[in-house]
């Protein structure tokens, strides 16, 4: 499974658990429009850290938190293994 697929699967799983109705997950969708609150994002980042072994937002001190779904996915894709 690609990193992109793993990230979108995790988003969908958490949306189901948190009873959030997701719009279509396009790269241009702003994270705000996903309907996720900060707790849901915190859960997402923790789950992805367990699954992918990385937390791109803690590794780098100056990493800006992404603004869109595309930025979010790329943050995981661009982490050196």
């Amino acid at each position: 499974m690609s990193v992109r697929l793993k990230v979108t699967e995790a988003i969908k799983q958490i949306a189901k658990e948190q009873h959030v109705t997701l719009p279509e997950l396009t790269d241009g969708l702003s994270l705000h429009e996903t309907g996720f609150d900060s707790l849901a994002f915190a859960i997402l980042v923790a789950r992805l850290e367990d699954e992918l072994g990385v937390d791109p937002f803690t590794i780098s001190e100056d990493a800006a938190f992404p603004a869109t779904v595309g930025d979010f996915v790329r943050a995981y894709e661009n982490v050196p293994a």
């Binding site: 707790l39 915190a42 980042v45 923790a46 789950r47 367990d50 937390d55 937002f57 803690t58 938190f65």
Partner: protein, 461 residues
Amino acid sequence: MSPREIFALRNYLGAELKGRTLSDAHHSVSLTDVLSQTVRGGRLGELSGRSVLLKLSDQLKSGLAMIELDGIARRMLLCPPDLNPAHLDALIADAEIDAVVTDEPEFWKDSAIPFVVIAQLPLTPAAPAETERATEWLMLTSGTSGVPKIAAHTLEALTGAIRAEAPARGPAPVWATFYDIRRYGGLQIFLRGVLSGGSMVLSDPHEVLADHIARLNARGVSHISGTPSHWRKLLMSGSAAQFAPRYVRLSGEIADQAVLDGLKAAFPDSSIGHAYASTEAGVGFAVNDGLEGFPADYIGVNASGVEMKIVDGSLRIRSERIAHAYIGRDVTKLADDDGFVDTGDMIELRGDRYHFVGRRGGIINIGGLKVHPEEIEAVINRHPDVRMSRAKSRKSPITGGIVVTDVILADGTDPARANEIREQILDQCRAQLASHKVPAVIRFVETLDVTPAGKLARTDA
């Protein structure tokens, strides 16, 4: 007060009660004629009036030394087995120790302590000693890093709850505990064993649970106590089926409904009770109705003179059973000006019962909100396939912290059902907890660490 009125352990041990024993995995010592024997080769007289460190490698010799020294020594300091040796010098200074009873004399040969008395088995004959004074019992508080505090008790305070109860009907009980008797919870059971006229079977840290249970059965144990973590371990082990005690007691941690129900199912013919006690506050109360928490009307003064109130959410206790002081140089006050001990245990009224929600010091921070891990664990433990769980916080770059949980599934749960169980646990948590308390991650694990004191290890709390 004349020496006759002083209350000492030897008053409960006489040759008229036959067949009493104190035993461990290796030895059994008769309590019937223990008063005419000694564990320390005839040197008891030299310990009269001294402040004695009991530093022994096992519980059996420790128990025998307590029986001999009570009423003779000025003080005795009990050392639990996991005491960090680096803290010994500070404790020796704080307790003004001037004698040590040990079975490891090599360790003490260069020490500055004037009297080193060697304790050994088998016991040797000795003239019965006379009680001279009320010995101060010094116990170490658990759960803190750094040098533990020393809480001072009298035997009268330590046994207040035991003497307040009606003696057990039927044959004298045979007591056992999963605790070590050099800690408050275990000492309570040792003292029950001595005061009840019965026997006591000690635990052994090197023994596997199945062998321990076999030994409890062989010795006819009827009354037994442990922490909820001890009991969950027994329920998980498959050894419970071979065991049928008359009385099962829980203390030392929050007894949630899941563990009470689990014990009721495993021991349908036993009475099951949970007790509240701490090294500082002494024994507060026991609850015997099979339900978690305690009835709201326990707050106030109860029939045995224990007074309880709630201030800032935590339980405060005043009674004749509390420790009378911390001993040492830089000590804080043990009780407030009115004599109440702040237990640090946070409680909450739900309906007509108070429930323990956790320790004040154990609060985890989730995105700026305070959460008791025990509250989350209690909800998770209600799932029928869960045996035990631990909640803790994990750093999050988004919210600062999130709740993560490790869960042990009950015996025989099909691992293929893990995802289904995870969903059910999450549903349960969402229905019963505020959203920030719902676990972000649920991990299934085989074991959870339990401290030497029998409590779930919370290293991050």
